[in-house]
Symmetry: C2
Subunit: 355 residues, 2 copies
């Protein structure tokens, strides 16, 4: 069972001869195809076992100088937004017959440089990269000799093709939605004081624009700092704000994880949502729809981002993309749910989920 | 900016000569190191731009015939358990100086075979693989000539090293926890009727053992079928059971996603948790702690699984693992939260989160 050693020179022919079947049948057994005659599979497996045969991967040559694989580098898979983005990219690539290898950078500068210049760029035809540590000041590091599509809000103006979302406009729409439900003391959770680039700065700008349109000032007491945008940091920012006695009638979490952290603290303090405090997030991750109460959010077109990034990258790899780098900005939609607009109870026997 | 063409033969020396700096300085700029004298970085960037220099990755040779990369293949990253497992494996590998390339199989048989026999096995030194479609009947497909550690409950008895959890015992403990809080009508959400292997069968066995110990029968009306273990399928199973008029005072979701789906339906129907129905999940994903109410769960030792799998694989790659294949079963712990034991409200000013 264990500790078998590969025997040099054993081929699929040898296995076929011992098992008394064709090479095609050996290949079918190894590749797990169904519809193999009873007894045949067992004979082939016995021959494989007896000879210590192993599939010789290194004999397979790459066609066309391409690997059929693309890289996707994201900060953290434990953040649902990036896990769901990865899932969407994988499915979009699969529809085009391409495999995705995923790398996680932990938002570390060193790891992000390694993504750009490390040896695993040998094995992919191109890269979809959502940097979080590197930014506009690192333009030289983005000078790479392989096709690349950038995601996110860290670097603009073209070292590569770029797919991004309408951060300012989407955040303004989320804030307007809270204002339209009569809220006036809207906490912003996820602020990054002093930053002028990146998602936090852009989304906060949208929040401030919506307040200005409504004739409301920006109250610094309502700006909740959170470094990384996790559930835990959202909970901490919400708790600090409540502990400080800040009056709040609504919360805009700059992503859904922060908003879910805020919901957690409101629940623990016995604050009712949305009666006392309305809450909206950003990203529309699957968690949002299943939160209790279901969390309103902004859907930033994740499927469109993934599909566009894959299409752009494959066009760049195939040499059919335009000479100039392309910047694509995806659509968004506010998704109102119970956390801002209250419960819409179904009739007793019907379920909103199964319907 | 765009459409630049790489000039053949341009070297780092050329860039250094044009910029009037050392090769080391060019390398530092390209690799994004801080502490470069003002002006120097701009000169190097201008020279890179002028010459069309690109880092030549293909010139870097692999050392020792190893790539320093391992593969991790999981069914779905959009399932938080696998996203968090991937995160844990990446961090464990990073502590050992190894990069992880992640692949998603979508629980497809074809994709799982491709993981075992596809060309990307050229580029990794070994594989950590959590199969969901392949099983014990596919032993031949697991005959590979590279180091591999299996995760999960699909295949036992040794085609490779194997790290798994105490499914039966952990599920029994979760069910006992519900029985100890006085529950008697415990719905099981996530059942796979007719299956005798895999997580569903093992966890259901634990549930049945706990009921038997308490002298309770297994009521088929309380077994909620769910194919894939998603939030949506958990919600559907819960809704079907309630629609059928089945009396329920507790729910055991065979994973947290199923339990969160059930919580969602209970919330929508106005059923209070845990007063009317107690709910426990399995996996202890981060979502569980942040659910409203916070979801009790079983922590299956995810960090230990990741660390053990990485250590075993690296030992196998280095040739220091035992000849016989190893099977490691990790510890578990029931984590009681509000969804089974009710609220423990903090003092007015204190926060359970910040504390």
């Amino acid at each position: 069972m264990a500790g078998r050693r590969r025997q040099a020179g054993v081929t699929m022919q040898d296995v076929a001869a011992i098992a008394g079947v064709s090479i095609k049948t050996v290949s079918n057994v190894i590749n797990g195809y169904p519809y193999i005659r009873p007894g045949t599979k067992e004979r082939v497996e016995a021959a494989i076992e007896q000879l210590g045969y192993r599939v010789n991967l290194s004999a397979r040559n790459l066609r066309q100088g391409r690997t059929g694989m693309i890289g996707l580098a994201v900060p953290e898979l434990s953040l649902p937004y990036f896990a769901e983005l990865a899932d969407s990219v994988i499915r979009a690539a699969e529809r085009r017959g391409v495999i995705v290898l995923i790398e996680q950078t932990n938002a570390s500068r060193e790891r992000e440089l390694e993504v750009l210049h490390g040896q695993r760029r040998h094995v992919t035809d191109g890269l979809i990269f959502s940097p979080l540590a590197l930014g506009t000041e690192d333009r030289a590091a983005f000078a790479v000799d392989f096709p690349m599509v950038l995601l996110g809000e860290r670097i603009f103006g073209g070292p590569a093709d770029h797919v991004t979302m309408s951060n300012v406009e989407a955040a303004r729409a989320a804030t307007r939605h809270l204002l339209e439900t009569g809220r006036r003391r809207i906490a912003l959770i996820g602020s990054h004081e002093g930053e002028t680039v990146g998602s936090a700065a852009l989304r906060q700008r949208g929040y401030e624009q919506a307040l200005a349109e409504a004739g409301l000032p920006v109250d610094p007491a309502l700006l909740g700092e959170a470094g990384l945008w996790h559930r835990s940091t959202g909970a901490e920012a919400m708790a600090r704000m409540l502990d400080a006695g800040t009056e709040v009638d609504a919360v805009f979490g700059l992503n859904d994880a922060l908003a879910i952290g805020a919901l957690h603290v409101l629940h623990a303090r016995g604050v009712t949502v949305p009666d006392e405090v309305a809450v909206i997030g950003f990203d529309d991750i699957e968690d949002a729809a299943y939160a209790s109460p279901p969390l309103s959010s902004v859907a930033p077109g994740r499927e469109q981002i993934a599909q566009t990034a894959v299409d752009l990258l494959l066009a760049r790899i195939a040499g059919t993309a335009p000479d100039e780098h392309v910047e694509v900005i995806t659509d968004f939609a506010v998704v109102p749910r119970e956390s801002t607009v209250g419960a819409v109870r179904p009739a007793a026997a019907a379920s909103p989920v199964v319907a």
